[in-house]
């Protein structure tokens, strides 16, 4: 059976939260199915805690017919995602996070936008942080006039949730960031690298990523606490001179579309 969208979900220590995450994915998958897409869920339980494994193994909300469940011992989010992408069958990949929820329209809307240009990497229009703090985060659109990539050196413009063609992830896999390396923020680095390779970050209008904010415990908080640094990206080598030219070209392309 042809699969349009593979939802990649890496799990580690989410415990019962994973249950809600999977419910939200099911909801979005049903919406996408109504829109004519076929989806699959690819779960990789990487050094998963017993409670997390329990959710994956025992939960009745998981449709075993449309789900690939794998157990892994990477201890690394980047490698886990790469592995899941490799084993997925969809034309498109939706990278999801085990703690977070997606809006019902996410998969369908992202797919619609991505059909316009194969180089697109789609992000939700907003991310809404909840739990420990409430922040409404607007993702920038690289196609918009005024987009400036130079600030990405100190701030990640986009969260890890994204949607693109499977080839995108095969061409530019996530880079591993072991704790001992001093590096971190594999998704931030990935965002930079795909830009450097000519992919375009854009948004799917009216879509949301609900992010469970945690003061401690999340990978980003842990990375910040251990003073992790993003790896060098080719994007940084040519900020200023390229930025304006590229932006002009993109704006033209967006208008044509």
């Amino acid at each position: 059976m042809k699969i349009d969208v593979s939802c990649v979900l890496a799990l580690h220590a989410e415990g019962l939260i994973a249950y809600k995450t999977i419910r939200a994915i099911n909801r979005a998958a049903a919406y996408a199915t109504n829109g004519g897409l076929t989806t699959e869920l690819v779960i990789v339980a990487d050094r998963a805690t017993p409670e997390t494994r329990g959710v994956v193994n025992n939960s009745t909300i998981i449709n075993r017919a449309t789900t690939i469940i794998m157990s892994a011992d990477f201890g690394d989010l980047a490698l886990t995602r790469n592995f899941a992408v490799d084993r997925s069958r969809g034309d498109y990949i939706a990278i999801l996070d085990g703690d977070d929820l997606i809006s019902e329209n996410w998969l369908l809307a992202a797919h619609e936008v991505n059909r316009v240009d194969r180089r697109f990497v789609i992000h939700p229009e907003v991310s809404l942080y909840f739990d420990q703090k409430v922040v409404l985060f607007y993702h920038p659109d690289q196609r918009r006039e005024g987009f400036d990539e130079a600030g990405i050196i100190v701030e990640n413009y986009w969260t890890s949730l994204c949607f693109s063609r499977r080839e995108t992830f095969l061409e530019m896999p996530y880079l591993s960031t072991p704790r001992c390396s001093g590096f971190g923020y594999e998704d931030w680095h990935w965002n930079c690298e795909v830009m450097a390779r000519g992919f375009i970050h854009t948004i799917a209008p009216y879509t949301t990523h609900f992010i469970r904010s945690k003061e401690t415990g999340s990978l980003n908080a842990a990375t910040a606490l251990r003073n992790g640094l993003m790896r060098h990206s080719a994007l940084f080598d040519n900020f200023a001179p390229r930025s304006r030219r590229k932006r002009g070209g993109l704006v033209s392309a967006a208008r044509e579309n």
Binding site: K20, A24, R27, A45, A48, V56, I69, M70, S71, A72, D73, F74, A78, L79, N82, F83, V85, D86, R87, L101, S103, E104, V126, L128, F130, K133, V134, L136, F137, Y138, H139, P140, F147, D148, A150, G151, I153, V154, E155, N156, Y157, L170, P173, S176, S181, G182, F183, Y206, T208, E215, N220, A224, N227, G228, L229, H232, F236, D237, F239, A240
Partner: protein
């Protein structure tokens, strides 16, 4: 355009006022305490009322981290939330009740739009453009390049690496101050004035920009000579930086506050030492002290004898009225008050005093200087531009009266110039003046011991001649340029010019290959759809 600039200036001014008196607009107490465990402990002990108090008192100046990244947030009004989002929230709240779009939910909400400030990226680009695609074997981090012992030692490293080991060197000046000694760098050394440009961004952005630049350049060696931001980088990002480069540092001895608390870059060693390849010191005493204080392994330290030019232009012949030379900064470390008491107690000697006025502006130091000027046997010559600028005269001895020090360069210069030196037994001085020579005073503030020593020497000039000759022989043997170069050559990871192999670094395409290759061992696809 003008209006926008004025608006921008006012905005920055208000941000500065607010940050100074009220705290940053996005202040997050919990994050600050989480990022700074020492502050949290101080708050828990009741020594500080809050993290914000620490931020105002020290944290801002120390560049303490207060948030995971850079944020520009503003409070969000419920009316600004798009209707479609509220509708979706209501629907998904059946899965996650915390997302229910209640008034209480929005009461604490803030809005964040990234891409508000690209100045850090532009600064990074500007620095890259100035480097013009050059590659370097060594990057030196210096706060500035002005007269000073650490700077002099750093110059020795740079000169020797460039001339003896073919190093391609970049010197990054990290503070916004003048560097009058820049002319001492050879033409082959590239300079980058980061300090003059970094005021375009805040402290933590400046750290990130510099760290990113070093990651981009990937020099085999990064040597922090005396840069404060360099030490911050070594502490914070040392793990990442040392995966691409070997990290070295030079460490001068501690300074001490009025209350006697030691301070200086050596206090950063506790955090930075896991990432450091070696630390250069100019004496054995200080590493031993640090080893005892922090329990840091002894082989982290390399003691270097920085070359001095031995040119004995001072020659002593016994005189009826003996002359004593004193040349140092007139500040509380160098203890001119001790000099004053010695001069008062030895009216038979004339004291020639070189040194700029009190830099610390302390009333007691100024009073001491006035007192020195009033003494009939003291002649004050004022500031001097290096030891070589002091006119030759018939001095019996060079007198040093500091309270603390490591290996004072002025002592080495005085000895190399043909002077016998009378000094206190502090820091590493006993490594160049033997304790049994009679030229080392056991207690730095023992005035009578100084006086007795001066009288004993001047009464027996042979002691002076012998000490002078001993010191010259010692310096020629131990403090020569050849000896220094030979010491550096003993550190191949410091002197070699090729890039380091990076065993743990996986290339981009290797990552996925590794993931797939590992699959049989590391990942199991379960036919029954169960996770192990």
């Amino acid at each position: 355009m003008l209006l926008a600039r004025i608006k921008g200036c006012l905005s920055r001014l208000w941000a500065s006022i607010r940050a100074t008196f009220l705290g940053p607009s996005d202040w997050d107490e919990q994050s600050y305490l989480a990022f700074n465990p020492d502050v949290r402990e101080a708050v828990e002990r009741g020594e500080l009322r809050s993290g914000l108090e620490h931020w105002h008192r020290r944290g801002r100046l120390e560049g303490r981290r207060r948030w995971a990244g850079h944020v520009w947030r503003r409070t969000l009004k419920q009316s600004e939330v798009p209707h479609w989002l509220k509708t979706e929230m209501l629907a998904i709240s059946t899965i996650e009740p915390q997302i229910f779009p209640s008034k209480a939910f929005w009461a604490v909400a803030r809005e964040h739009r990234p891409m508000k400030d690209s100045s850090a990226g532009y600064l990074y680009s500007q620095l890259l453009e100035e480097i013009e695609g050059k590659t370097f074997t060594h990057v030196f981090l210096l706060s500035s390049l002005r007269a000073g012992g650490v700077e002099l030692e750093c110059l020795r490293h740079i000169q020797t690496l460039a001339s003896n080991f073919g190093a391609r060197i970049l010197v990054i000046l990290t503070e916004n101050t003048d560097s009058p000694w820049l002319y001492r760098l050879s033409q082959s050394v590239t300079q980058l004035d980061f300090g003059k440009k970094r005021n375009k961004v805040d402290q933590s952005s400046a750290e990130v920009v510099l760290a990113r630049l070093l990651l981009k350049l990937k020099p085999p060696v990064i040597h922090n000579a005396n840069s404060a931001i360099g030490w911050q980088l070594f502490c914070r990002y040392g793990a990442a930086l040392c995966s691409e480069s070997k990290l070295y540092a030079s460490l001068p001895c501690f300074e001490y506050t009025n209350e006697g608390e030691p301070f200086g870059y050596a206090r950063q060693l506790e955090k930075a030492h896991p990432y450091l390849e070696r630390v250069f010191c100019d004496n054995h005493w200080f590493p031993a002290m640090l080893g005892e204080m922090y329990g840091i392994r002894a082989d982290l330290f390399v003691v270097m004898a920085y070359p001095v030019s031995v040119a004995p232009r001072f020659k002593y012949t016994a005189d009826s009225r003996q002359k004593v030379l004193w040349a140092s900064r007139l500040d509380r470390q160098k203890r001119p008050d001790i000099l004053q008491k010695i001069a008062q107690s030895t009216p038979e000697c004339i004291f020639h005093v070189y040194g700029s006025g009190p830099s610390d502006k302390r009333a007691d130091t100024a009073k001491t200087c006035d007192g020195l000027r009033k003494l009939s046997n003291v002649v004050m010559f004022g500031a001097y531009d290096g030891f070589d600028a002091i006119p030759t005269d018939n001095y019996a001895v060079f007198l040093y009266t500091a309270q603390w020090d490591g290996m004072p360069n002025v002592i080495l210069e005085a000895l190399a110039s043909g002077l016998a030196v009378l000094a206190p037994n502090i820091g590493g001085i006993s490594e160049v003046i033997p304790p049994n020579s009679g030229f080392l005073v056991p207690q730095f503030d023992d005035i009578q011991a100084y006086v007795d020593a001066v009288r004993r020497m001047t009464a027996n000039p042979q002691l002076i001649f012998e000490e002078r000759n001993r010191a010259l022989r010692f310096l020629r043997e131990k403090y020569s340029s050849d000896a220094f170069a030979a010491s550096l050559a003993m550190l191949p990871s410091y002197t070699r010019s090729e890039r380091l192999p990076i065993p743990n670094r996986t290339s981009e395409s290797d990552d996925i290959k590794r993931a797939i290759k590992l699959a049989p061992q590391s990942a199991v696809i379960l036919k029954n759809g169960q996770a192990d």
